[in-house]
């Protein structure tokens, strides 16, 4: 039964690969595609982009799980290929180690502790764990950048008070003065260029060799590309300063106050949400308590049966 399912699975994967390679496509259609591609008559965008256009929820999923994007947000100094090689090597290493343990156990105990297929599945799970760790790292960096800006608005207000600093230069100043270098590496590193190189359509113009774009536009694009809420807020407020002639320090002060209020409200919500969840670990206390009492009784019962 298990081998039948496995065979079906392998056949499905092979069929899918052959379909993607165009083996089932009639020669006339292949010829038309070649001509169409040459004359830009057919849609040659990647599959995920086309699917995303038809199903917006898929677009969000592809965006959130794009490895190059996650690597850039997490500020990993590696490209997608290096990451994939590293994960493959680690996965193989885990598989080899598990198989070696299995092999040793078969020699010593004459039984396999784990079926070889399970060893491979566990190793595959390790690859998924690596991806989840990358996602987590990216999320942490996003939070760190948002926090760095949100908690430095007062200082930015002081810096812009006398007109000595613009909002952008004040942001760079505070980024240099924080222990966590996430914001600074974001502002001064090659993060923008890396994303621009991967995504020609949306961020190429954010580079500033020709100084064509305003800081507001750049901040807006950063916010959109990296899901950084605070950059979006800064951009909106900077636009208000520019268009309505408001005083930067006043705008930053009120932004800081509203952010503080938001933080307080978020804390309250989190505390309320955590209350029922905290019952879970308290309830789990039954496990060691029961084990402490039941173990001697179980041992005594076993002895009596023997």
């Amino acid at each position: 039964m298990a081998y039948g399912i496995l065979l079906l699975l392998v056949a499905s994967v092979l069929g899918l690969l052959m379909w993607r390679a165009g083996i089932f496509t009639p020669p006339a259609a292949v010829a038309w595609q070649r001509i169409g591609r040459h004359h830009h008559l057919i849609d040659d965008r990647p599959l995920e982009e086309r699917l995303g256009e038809r199903m917006p929820f898929l677009a969000g999923f592809f965006r959130q799980s794009s490895i190059p994007r996650l690597l850039t947000i997490a500020n990993r100094g590696e490209d997608m290929n290096t990451w994939l090689v590293k994960v493959s090597v680690l996965t193989l290493l885990v598989a080899v180690l598990l198989l070696a343990v299995d092999f040793a156990s078969s020699l010593l105990l004459h039984v396999l502790i784990l079926p070889p297929l399970l060893c491979l599945l566990i190793a595959g799970g390790f690859a998924i764990l690596q991806f989840l760790a990358l996602q987590r790292e990216a999320r942490h960096r996003q939070e760190a950048v948002n926090r760095s800006i949100a908690q430095a608005l007062t200082e930015m207000a002081i810096l812009t008070y006398g007109g000595g600093y613009t909002v952008a230069s004040a942001l760079e100043f505070v980024a240099r003065c924080q222990r966590d270098r996430s914001l600074l590496s974001f502002l001064t590193g090659d993060t923008w260029q890396r994303v621009a190189a991967q995504d020609q359509t949306s961020l190429l113009l954010t580079l500033r060799p020709n100084q064509m774009l305003s800081t507001v536009t750049i901040y807006e694009r950063i916010a959109r590309e990296y899901d950084l809420e605070m950059f979006a807020e800064l951009a909106v407020n900077m636009r208000r300063i520019a268009e309505k002639g408001l005083v930067p320090s006043d705008v930053l002060t009120s932004l800081s106050a509203s952010n503080g209020q938001k933080r307080l409200a978020e804390m309250q919500v989190k505390a309320e949400q955590a209350r029922p969840r905290l019952a879970l670990p308290i309830g789990m206390m039954v496990l060691p308590l029961l084990s402490l009492i039941v173990f001697p009784i179980g041992l005594a019962l076993l002895a009596s049966f023997k």
């Binding site: 680690l90 080899v96 092999f103 800081s256 307080l264």
Partner: protein, 301 residues
């Protein structure tokens, strides 16, 4: 050669090759190397936080930790049971700082609360007399609130207020104190009138909001710690009860019984970790006050 040995050799070679490849990939990345080195920093920061919260020098705190671990090991080895050794060691390594960090957090919160009146006093001094910010800070440091006395000590006898503020932030080890030091440093080159306006309009309301967030955060953490304490007390009570009954205790004198005790201990530690992970907490930005001084110096040079 036996085929089994041959297969084993292949497995070993593949594993060695993969490990070497991994070392090459991971070792060549300077960002990852720096990140690995930085992984120790939060641990040291945490120890410094507890030490300053308890009002002791970092060196004294490290000595206390080492002495406690030594004592725990000595007691464990005197009793002789491996589980007791592991239990004593666990208590010394994790239990003591966990218990004392509650007191440290309370002291820190008290200090943070005292910072708002301190800033109001600075503003009052500036608005009453013809004083500069430097003089006002020195004057207040000579007669400080007792909760701030330890942190403000560098301001008492100093020529350079900027340098002293760096020291104050280092001694206080509190995000809010660091922030105040940064704000004072940034306000140094402004007129007293400008500072008063900023303090009344921007800074003091901000600090009051920060204290409010700190208080709620502290309340949430204290609740989590209380839950942890309840877990520990109930487990300790159950353990004592089981050990007082001879028939139950005898089961734990075997190797299997010892393993079960270790497992129970691990589950309790896991529950405590889960409690701490589920407790909502607010994260604070930590400022590098020395970097602010450096940035200000660069600005004028």
């Amino acid at each position: 050669m036996s085929p089994v040995l041959f297969f084993l050799q292949i497995l070993l070679l593949v594993a060695l090759g993969l490990a070497f490849l991994l070392f090459l990939i991971a070792g060549s990345d300077p960002v990852m190397r720096r990140r690995r080195l930085r992984a120790l920093e939060p641990l040291l920061d945490r120890e410094r936080y507890v030490a300053t919260g308890l009002g002791v020098e970092f060196r004294a705190w490290v000595t206390l930790r080492l002495v406690t671990i030594g004592l725990a090991l000595a007691v464990g080895f005197l009793v002789g049971t491996p589980v007791v050794v592991a239990g004593c060691l666990g208590l010394a390594v994790f239990g003591l700082p966990w218990y004392l960090s509650a007191r440290a957090a309370q002291h820190k919160l008290d200090m943070d609360r005292a910072l708002v009146p301190f800033m109001i006093n600075v503003t009052n001094l500036l608005s009453q007399g013809q004083q500069t910010l430097d003089h006002a800070l020195r004057e207040l440091a000579h007669n400080p609130d007792r909760r701030l006395a330890h942190a403000l000590e560098p301001l008492r006898n100093t020529d350079s207020v900027s340098g002293a503020l760096v020291q104050v932030a280092r001694r206080g080890q509190s995000p809010m104190l660091e922030r105040i030091c940064v704000d004072l440093l940034l306000s140094m080159d402004q007129t007293p009138e400008a500072f008063i306006e900023q303090a009344e309009r921007i800074l003091i309301p901000q600090y009051q909001q920060d204290v409010e967030i700190q208080s709620r955060n502290h309340a949430a953490l204290a609740g989590g710690r209380q839950n942890g304490l309840i877990v520990l007390l109930i487990m300790a009570l159950a353990f004592i009860l089981v050990m007082r009954i001879d028939t139950l205790r005898s089961a734990y004198t075997t190797v299997l019984g010892q393993v079960m005790l270790v497992l129970d201990g691990a589950i309790v530690i896991g529950i405590l970790w889960l409690l701490s992970a589920m407790t909502p907490r607010s994260q604070w930005v930590r400022w590098d006050v020395a970097a602010v001084v450096e940035q200000m110096r660069r600005r004028y040079s």
